[in-house]
C-alpha cells in the first residue's frame, strides 16, 4: 500500500496503462513539461517522451477530433480537457462523432477514447473553472461517463476507462485531488473486467433509515452527513455511484427498498440533472417501498456564481442534512 493523493493516484493509473499498452497516448494542453495544471500527468512526459505525452495546440475540438482519428488506427488516446468549462469547444466532436461512430458503423469501428475532465467546484476558482457538465454527457447515448471519488478509485477506474473499448468521459473531482488514501499499486488488473468494474456503484456506508446517493465531489459530503445523522440517532446508507452512464440503478433500488428513503446529491444543478434520472428510476422500481418523496440536493438553476458565493450555491452539510431530516420526518 502506498499513500497517495487522488492526483498522484490517477497519475499512477495513467503510468500503469501506458506501461501495459504502448498504444496509450496522452494529449492535452500543458500536460507535457508542466505536467498539467493539476500535475496529474507530472513526470510522464519525462519518462515516456513527447510522442506519448503530447502538448497539443490550444484547441479542444482539435484534441477530441484528432483523438477519434488516432483511435481508428488502433491507438488509445487519453485526452485531458484542462477544466470543465472548456470542454464545450469539443462538444460537437464528442456528441455527434465520438458518441455515435460505433453505432453508425454498425459496430465496425470502436473508439477507445478517454476524456479526462477535472470538474466541479469548491476551490475558489474564477468563472468556468468549477462547473459540473456531466448531465450533457450522460444524456448522450454512446458515451460512458464515470467519476471517481477517492484515490483508490482514481487509480483503478482510470485504467478501466482506458481499457474500455467505448469512449469514456472521466470526470475527476478537482476539490478531491489533494485527498490522501492508501492505494495498492500492485493490485492485479483484469482487462476483461475493466468495463464492468468501473460500471458498478459501491455502498460506502451501510444504513437502514435513508439512502444518500452521491458521486465524485459529494461522496465525502454524504459521509459527513451520515455521520452527523448517526449522532442524531439515524442510520444513513451512502452510495457512491462511480459510474453515471451506465447508471447502476439496481444497487440504488436495492438500497432504497431497504431504507425506504432516498436523497440524491450532486453539484450540478438539480433541474434536469443526474438526480432526476435516479429519482425517476427509484420511483419506477421502488415506489411501494418509499416512505417519503425522493429529494434532490444540488446546485441551483443558474450559471456557477462568483466563488465568494459557492458555499451558498453548492450542496453543504446543512442543506444535505436538511433534506435527510425531511425524508426522515416521514
Amino acid at each position: 500500500m502506498t499513500t497517495l493523493t487522488m492526483a498522484a493516484a490517477i497519475n499512477a493509473g495513467l503510468r500503469k496503462a501506458m506501461e501495459r499498452d504502448p498504444k496509450v497516448v496522452l494529449m492535452g494542453e500543458d500536460i507535457g513539461v508542466l505536467g498539467g495544471v493539476f500535475r496529474v500527468t507530472d513526470g510522464l512526459h519525462k519518462d515516456f517522451g513527447g510522442d506519448r505525452v503530447r502538448d497539443t495546440p490550444l484547441a479542444e475540438s482539435g484534441i477530441v477530433g484528432t483523438a477519434i482519428g488516432m483511435a481508428m488506427r488502433g491507438y488509445r488516446p487519453v485526452c485531458e480537457i484542462q477544466f470543465d468549462g472548456f470542454i464545450f469547444p469539443a462538444f460537437s466532436q464528442i456528441t455527434t462523432q465520438l458518441a455515435k461512430m460505433h453505432y453508425r458503423a454498425q459496430g465496425n469501428i470502436t473508439l477507445p477514447v478517454t476524456i479526462r475532465v477535472p470538474f466541479a467546484g469548491n476551490i475558489g476558482a474564477i468563472e468556468h473553472h468549477s462547473e459540473s457538465p456531466e448531465g450533457y454527457f450522460t444524456h448522450t447515448p454512446g458515451l460512458r461517463v464515470a467519476a471517481p471519488a477517492t484515490p483508490e478509485d482514481g487509480f483503478t477506474m482510470i485504467q478501466q476507462a482506458i481499457a474500455c473499448p467505448d469512449p469514456v468521459i472521466f470526470f475527476e473531482p478537482k476539490a478531491r485531488y489533494w485527498d490522501k488514501a492508501d492505494v495498492d499499486l500492485d493490485a492485479p488488473f483484469d482487462e476483461a473486467k475493466a468495463t464492468t468494474g468501473m460500471s458498478r456503484a459501491r455502498i460506502v456506508r451501510q444504513g437502514d433509515d435513508a439512502t444518500i446517493v452521491a458521486y465524485g465531489p459529494t461522496v465525502r459530503l454524504a459521509l459527513q452527513v451520515a455521520q452527523v445523522s448517526e449522532e442524531e440517532g439515524s442510520s444513513v446508507e451512502v452510495i457512491d455511484l462511480r459510474s453515471l452512464s451506465p447508471l447502476d440503478h439496481q444497487t440504488v433500488v436495492r438500497s432504497v427498498k431497504k431504507t425506504g428513503r432516498c436523497v440524491i446529491v450532486h453539484e450540478a444543478p438539480s433541474a434536469f440533472g443526474v438526480g432526476a434520472e435516479i429519482a425517476a428510476r427509484v420511483t419506477e422500481e421502488a415506489f411501494f417501498h418509499l416512505e417519503a418523496p425522493v429529494l434532490r440536493v444540488g446546485g441551483f438553476f443558474m450559471p456557477y456564481p462568483g466563488s465568494k458565493f459557492e458555499h451558498d450555491y453548492l450542496p453543504s452539510v446543512d442543506r444535505l442534512l436538511d433534506a435527510v431530516d425531511r425524508v426522515l420526518a416521514h
Binding site: 500543458d30 508542466l34 495546440p57 441551483f300
Partner: protein, 377 residues
C-alpha cells in the same frame, strides 16, 4: 531559428529599439508622427501606473485577498500603444489580460479586482466604456467582436469619411487563442464580410506552458493571408510602433477597408497567472533576455536621453501609481459580498419559474436558521 517561423524577427515593425533609439519606418513612421514628447510622456505615465496596479494586484493575491490574478506585466506597451489609437466610439473586446486597455477606456482598475476576488463575474458596464466583459473561454469573444463589427457596419458607422462619426472594433487575444476554431472562424467571417475590425494578437510567447511553436509553424500574422486580409507584425514592447500599426489598421477599418490582423510580439514577464509556476517550463536566461527588452525601460531611456522625462515628473507618476494601488487595496478590503439570495438575480431578463421557485425555497431555508436562533436549524 527559421527566418519565417513564429519566433523570427522577420518583418517586425519597430520604431524604438530596446536600447531606446528611434528608428524610421517608411510605412509606419507617419502614423506615429503625432506622438510628440508630451504624448509619449502620457503613455509612459499610463504604463507605469498600470504596472504599479498590476504589481499590487499580484501581492493582494499572494496575501489571500484575491482568488487569482492575471498579470499584464511586460505587455504594457502593446496595450497602451494600441489602446491609444482608439477613439471613444470604437469598441474593445478584450480577453482577460488587458488591464492596460481597460485603464485607457476609463474602467476603474480598483473595480476589476472584484471579479478576481470572486464577488461577481464582471465589474464594469460595457456600454459605459465601449469595453466588453473579459472572456475566459479562449477565443470565444473573437466571434462576438466580429459580429459586433458587422452590425456597426450595417448601422452606417463605417466609411462616411467623417472622423467624428466612423468607428471600428478591436479584439484582443493571445498566441494560444489562434489555434481555437472560434478564432479562425472569426477571421473568416470578418474577411468575407469586410468587417471593420482589428484582430490584435498579443504574442507573449506562451499559452501557459506551451511556447508559440506549439501553435504555429509560421509567424502568427501569416494567418491573415490565408483569409485574404492584411497581417502585420509589430514589436509589442515598442509603444510607438504598437500605436502606429494599430492606428493604421483602425483607420482602414473605419474607412471601410476591412479587417487587419496585428501580431504584437511581447513577453509575459510574470507567470501565466498567480497559480502558475513558470520555472517548470522556461529558463532564467530567457527571462533575462526579455527583461532587457522591458517596454517601459526603453521608453524611459529614450525620453531621458532626450531630456524629456524630468525626475520630478517620474516621482509624481510613481506616487500616482502608488495611490491607485493603495486605493485599490482599501476598496478591495472594504468590499462586501452581496447577500446570498442575490446570486439568483440576472439569470434571465424575465421571470423564470424554476429560478423563482428555487429562490423562494432558498429564502425560506435561510430564514429557518434565523428562526432557530443560533441552533443549527
Amino acid at each position: 531559428m527559421d527566418a519565417h517561423g513564429p519566433l523570427s524577427d522577420n518583418g517586425v515593425v519597430r520604431l524604438l529599439t530596446h536600447t531606446g533609439d528611434r528608428l524610421e519606418h517608411p510605412e509606419y513612421s507617419p502614423f506615429a508622427q503625432d506622438l510628440d514628447f508630451a504624448a509619449l510622456r502620457a503613455m509612459w505615465r499610463e504604463m507605469v501606473i498600470v504596472r504599479a496596479f498590476d504589481t499590487e494586484a499580484t501581492s493582494l493575491q499572494r496575501q489571500g485577498e484575491l482568488g487569482l490574478w492575471v498579470a499584464a506585466l511586460g505587455q504594457e506597451a502593446a496595450q497602451i500603444g494600441s489602446g491609444h489609437a482608439l477613439t471613444d466610439r470604437d469598441w474593445v473586446f478584450p480577453s482577460y489580460r488587458e488591464h492596460g486597455v481597460a485603464y485607457l477606456r476609463g474602467v476603474d482598475l480598483a473595480d476589476i479586482l472584484r471579479t478576481f476576488r470572486g464577488l461577481e463575474h464582471s465589474s464594469w458596464v460595457p456600454n459605459e466604456h465601449n469595453f466588453h466583459l473579459y472572456t475566459l473561454v479562449i477565443g470565444a469573444h473573437t466571434l462576438h467582436a466580429t459580429g459586433y463589427a458587422m452590425a456597426m457596419d450595417w448601422d452606417g458607422l463605417v466609411g462616411s469619411g467623417r472622423p467624428d462619426h466612423d468607428a471600428a472594433v478591436i479584439c484582443y487575444f493571445g498566441d494560444g487563442a489562434t489555434s481555437e476554431g472560434d478564432t479562425n472562424e472569426a477571421l473568416v467571417f470578418a474577411a468575407v464580410n469586410n468587417a471593420p475590425i482589428v484582430f490584435f494578437c498579443q504574442n507573449n510567447q506562451y499559452a501557459i506552458s506551451e511556447p508559440t511553436t506549439r501553435q504555429s509553424k509560421v509567424a502568427l500574422a501569416q494567418r491573415a493571408s490565408g483569409v485574404g486580409i492584411p497581417g502585420v507584425r509589430v514589436d509589442g514592447n515598442d509603444v510607438l510602433a504598437s500605436y502606429a500599426v494599430t492606428r493604421q489598421a483602425l483607420e482602414r477599418a473605419r474607412s471601410g477597408g476591412g479587417p487587419t490582423f496585428i501580431e504584437a510580439l511581447t513577453y509575459r514577464m510574470a507567470a501565466h497567472t498567480t497559480s502558475d509556476d513558470p520555472t517548470r517550463y522556461r529558463t532564467r536566461d530567457e527571462e533575462d533576455y526579455w527583461r532587457e527588452r522591458d517596454p517601459i525601460a526603453r521608453l524611459t531611456a529614450y525620453l531621458e536621453r532626450a531630456g524629456e522625462l524630468p525626475q520630478a515628473f517620474q516621482e509624481e507618476v510613481r506616487a500616482e501609481g502608488k495611490e491607485l494601488a493603495t486605493r485599490a487595496r482599501i476598496r478591495l478590503k472594504e468590499s462586501v459580498r452581496a447577500p446570498a439570495r442575490d446570486m439568483f438575480d440576472h439569470v434571465y431578463a424575465e421571470p423564470h419559474a424554476t429560478v423563482d421557485s428555487e429562490r423562494a425555497w432558498y429564502e425560506r431555508y435561510e430564514e429557518s436558521f434565523v428562526d432557530a436562533e443560533g441552533s443549527h436549524r
